[in-house]
């Protein structure tokens, strides 16, 4: 009986692996936003990307109220390519990391933009990216 069970488990194990692609030198990445917290997310069907916006308290408040960000506000937009979920047909999940952008508010209403990692999927000026990032609204959770 035990042997049968092991056999079935082995079969189940290899079947389960069939869905995953070859994973040599590949890793499961979890983005580490440091002191920033999750604020909002988005999905772009045309570009097949998903993004997460992180920020500090000041970012959360200015985005919630639609105010100009106070000095010291930091936001990071992290964008990923999305794929069909290999484990569940009908679901999509983020895959390759594409870009990390940072927006930082300084004194005298100045706002700095920096592309920390990767490339943008559609060319845009810094001003356009700042406007785009500042349009995010914090998600609602009771």
């Amino acid at each position: 009986m035990n042997r049968m069970l092991y056999l079935l488990l082995t079969v189940a194990f290899f079947t389960a692996c069939k869905n995953e692609r070859s994973t040599h030198d590949q890793a499961r990445i979890v983005f580490e936003p440091g002191d920033l917290q999750f604020i909002a997310s988005s999905l772009n069907p045309k570009l097949e990307t998903m993004s997460v916006l992180y920020g500090n308290d000041s970012a959360l408040q200015s985005l919630a109220k639609g105010n100009h960000p106070a000095a010291g506000t930091v936001m990071k937009l992290v964008t990923w390519r999305y794929h069909d979920n290999p484990q569940y047909f009908g679901s999509k999940i983020n895959g390759e990391l594409l870009s990390v952008e940072t927006v930082q508010a300084g004194s005298h209403d100045s706002i700095a933009y920096r592309l920390d990692f990767g490339t943008l999927q559609r060319p845009a000026t810094q001003a356009e990216r700042i406007t785009y990032i500042m349009r995010y609204k914090p998600v609602q959770i009771p």
Binding site: L43, V52, Q140
Partner: protein, 323 residues
């Protein structure tokens, strides 16, 4: 002398099968029949070709209308059959299809399709003795076409939001003991996903869970790992981009091998709407509506569906961590 020896040998040859037959007959005394239950309503909405596949390949376990072979009804095989049928009916019952909402039906169809595509259903051991139940590539295409035609309906994990109202002052507890906590809002986002039901999701993990993902410590996941999936309705922007809109629910998975033995060590919970109403009348709900799919389809990641894909260069982890 020689004749006596031969007789003894013949006696010994017969005694073994006779004993086996006697034991088998004895076992039948402990043969518990499968509980007979009424048919309350069938899946009338599906096309005949879909129904034919389901009746041929699924009904023998997932219904109240078993057509069992004689060998299925003999102990000890019948014990395994009874266990399978009981579990199958718990998860999905085609004879009680009327008890499901439209959204739940769509969710079940996706579950059926996923199980068939992954080769998980019908069960391999069942197919050994019931080869006629095998589903072909063509069968899967038929089921897929019908399932996709249902999209747009509500989802499996999508309880309609509870009536509007203020968030509860004390946090709710799921019938299996999983407690809601809003601490997850400060946790790390491990992934994002969408589902056919037009929902958008963000999956948070506590420190133990994040460490487990990075180290691929899935067999088993460490006790204390908690993963929370927040689900919203998709809201389309004028430029076509999709953002989270109305909050639908928060789905918890909490690892405690000892406490949640029946569900592979995971405590499942779902808290819906503004009132965060917990799902389930009793602790059995997770066995009936969660673990079935998780067990069969996400075993390779320790029973979690939305673990980040392994598609980024390992060197990137260092870069991201150092920023």
């Amino acid at each position: 002398m020689e004749t006596t020896k031969n007789t003894q040998r013949i006696k010994r040859i017969y005694i073994i099968p006779a004993a086996i037959v006697a034991v088998l007959i004895g076992l039948q005394l402990f043969n518990q029949p499968i509980a007979s239950k009424p048919v309350t309503g069938h899946m009338d909405e599906a096309p005949a070709e879909v129904l034919a596949i389901l009746q041929r390949s699924c009904y023998n376990c997932h219904s109240n209308e078993q057509k069992l072979s004689w060998f299925d009804q003999l102990a000890p095989a019948s014990w395994a059959v009874k266990k399978d049928v009981d579990r199958a009916r718990e998860v999905m019952n085609f004879s009680e299809w009327d008890k499901l909402s439209t959204g739940e039906r769509t969710g079940k169809m996706y579950a059926i399709l996923n199980m068939m595509q992954a080769g998980k259903m019908p069960l391999r051991e069942y197919l050994l003795l019931h080869p006629g139940a095998k589903v072909t590539e063509k069968d899967i295409e038929v089921v897929k076409k019908y399932t996709l035609s249902r999209s747009g309906n509500e989802a499996p994990h999508n309880t309609p939001p509870a009536t509007a109202g203020a968030a509860p002052k004390t946090f709710p507890v799921s019938p299996n003991g999983v407690k809601y906590t809003d601490a997850f809002k400060q946790w790390t986002v491990i992934s994002m996903s969408t589902l056919f039901d037009h929902s958008i999701r963000v999956i948070y993990g506590n420190d133990i869970a994040v460490k487990a993902v990075r180290e691929e410590n899935f067999f088993p996941w460490p006790d204390g790992a908690v993963v929370v999936k927040a689900v919203w309705k998709q809201e389309e922007q004028p430029d076509g981009e999709i953002r989270p809109g109305e909050f639908v629910n928060a789905q918890f998975m909490e690892k405690n091998a000892e406490k949640y033995k029946d569900t592979e060590g995971w405590g499942f919970a779902k808290f819906s709407g503004q009132k965060l109403a917990p799902t389930g009348k009793d602790a059995l709900f997770a066995q009936q509506s969660c673990i079935g799919c998780h067990r069969q389809l996400s075993a390779s990641t320790g029973y979690l569906f939305d673990v980040p894909m392994k598609v980024n260069p390992a060197s990137l982890t260092e870069k991201i961590l150092s920023k």
